[in-house]
Symmetry: C2
Subunit: 310 residues, 2 copies
């Protein structure tokens, strides 16, 4: 297997910065790809060992391009997640002042995070979308636009100055990234893990989705993400991307997934991996009555009853 | 109140075409706005009687800009919905052939709907995003790009030719639009209505969302949309935009909303309005045991029991 990670490029974006926080990235060749789709395809065809792409954003929610890629096509698996706080710098060519700025650019995903700042500080600036924040910085370097919103780290690469830093409309703006590979045995549980699945309902009746969520709730499993995605069969037809607390080797999670497998039209397992919002080494306590020991004890008790040994 | 409807402009887009299918649009002045936000703000400040904006798309799901505007800020209410089938035409300057096309443009929302077509027919064409599909057509007219994906109706307006029509990657590609005004008494039920609400959970515990959905399921109410949207309080903090079958004057829906009001941190009512996916005049039958008559009969029975008259 090639020791290479594909990532959503170009170089010098938040994605690359987030990827470099993973210790395993230091020993891999990191290759930028032009889109989430092409990065994941590189994994599917065996050109890369894994791909690193954004999947959720505290301002915009689930990143639909990534979710749709994981929902459809050859199955892939999530191995790791990274959380990165996102604040923007306003990058300009040296010498440009705020009052000189007539046009600004960035990736469209940056827009909701800088909208209020723009309204206050540059109400008349014209917004032009760029293919990426790094590409926006490049276009400013070339003189096509006056200013770009990008990570402060991009300034040096493009010979630009940060006129302003720390720009973020929403407090705690974070983006979640995932490392995605071909399906294999998930890593062992760490005590603070997350499991991702995609669920397709069997039919559409009152309580259908409530019943799916009940499979988790009944086993004391909290949900961290529920994102509906169109199935492509027309308005109102959705599947559900779910992140749930726990690992598939936890008995509560295994039982919940078995329940879903029984009642869903289709379940796609996307992996179990360490939670990035919990300090490494920290072990979370399951809700009362849902630990592996309690599940094992209850199974023993039923077996004894079935045996007439109660 | 000014007899004017704001809509997401510019002129000559799918939004305008959808708006003109509403009989009431014929008697109003229709004013294009540059963004969903500005169209809805026109309603909030009393500049327009109502605003007409896209809210859901069978390829991309909920349109987050619109949902986020309805979730936050001064409350607004949905009065009408329109479903429009979306297929694109490839518009070029007269005389241009498919083999001449090096650059194509359209609004980013068009991209997922034409991606496969592009891959097959114009694999080397460079994509450039436009502010709207109509704006893309204008840029082709000006010679900046070679071709634009837009509604076929835009060809005449910009002096272009449709080189290809009926382009749509997903079968049944539809967009749902809503007419949004200031809160008032909802229109009377038609027998085939939809109710939209936004729900904020009181706390985060296993089964929290299942319990919210249970308020609908218990009253035999089917859901048509469940879209999570970030609350802005960081990764993992979501509220839920829900479309449910029925009208707030149905007893089952009123009881479900009362239940939600009791257990949610906050409920925002977004209106009850006729469903566009049902033929006008058609009356839908509620699930057994959930008609107004059955609710009334059950309430009478409890009252009699409380009275000792059972």
């Amino acid at each position: 297997m090639p020791a290479s990670y594909a990532y959503l490029g170009p170089e010098g974006t938040f994605t690359e910065v987030a990827l470099r926080t993973l210790p395993e990235a230091a020993t891999r060749e990191l290759t930028p790809y032009v889109s989430v789709q092409s990065a994941l395809d590189a994994v599917r065809v065996g050109e890369a060992e894994a791909a690193f792409v954004p999947i959720e954003n505290s301002v915009e929610g689930g990143i639909t391009t990534t979710l749709d890629e994981l929902v459809a096509g050859t199955p892939l698996m999530i191995y790791r997640e990274v959380l990165l706080s996102i604040t923007f710098a306003l990058l300009v060519r040296p010498g440009i002042k705020l009052s000189d700025i007539k046009t600004v650019t960035a990736h469209p995903a940056a827009q909701p995070q800088v909208r209020n700042w723009l309204k206050t500080h540059l109400p008349d600036a014209v917004w032009e979308s760029a293919a990426s924040n790094a590409d926006g910085a490049r276009l400013v370097q070339e003189g096509r636009y006056d200013a770009a919103f990008a990570g402060e780290f991009a300034a040096a690469r493009y010979g630009l100055e940060a006129l302003e830093t720390g720009i973020h409309d929403a407090e705690n703006a974070q983006t979640r990234f995932v490392l995605v590979g071909r399906p294999a045995r998930p890593a062992a549980p760490t005590g603070a893990d997350k499991t991702s699945v995609v669920l397709w309902q069997n039919d559409d009746h009152p309580g259908g989705l409530r019943d799916l969520l009940g499979e988790f709730a009944t086993r004391g499993i909290n949900l961290m993400l529920l994102q509906s995605r169109p199935t492509g069969a027309g308005i109102g037809n959705y599947c559900f991307c779910v992140d749930a607390e726990g690992h598939i080797s936890d008995r509560r999670m295994a039982e919940a997934l078995m329940g879903l497998k029984r009642i869903c039209l289709q379940v796609r397992y996307l992996g179990s991996y360490p939670r990035a919002d919990v300090r490494p080494g920290e072990v979370l306590t399951p809700f009362p009555g849902t630990s592996d020991e309690e599940f094992a004890g209850a199974a023993d008790w039923v077996a004894r009853c079935q045996d007439g040994r109660f």
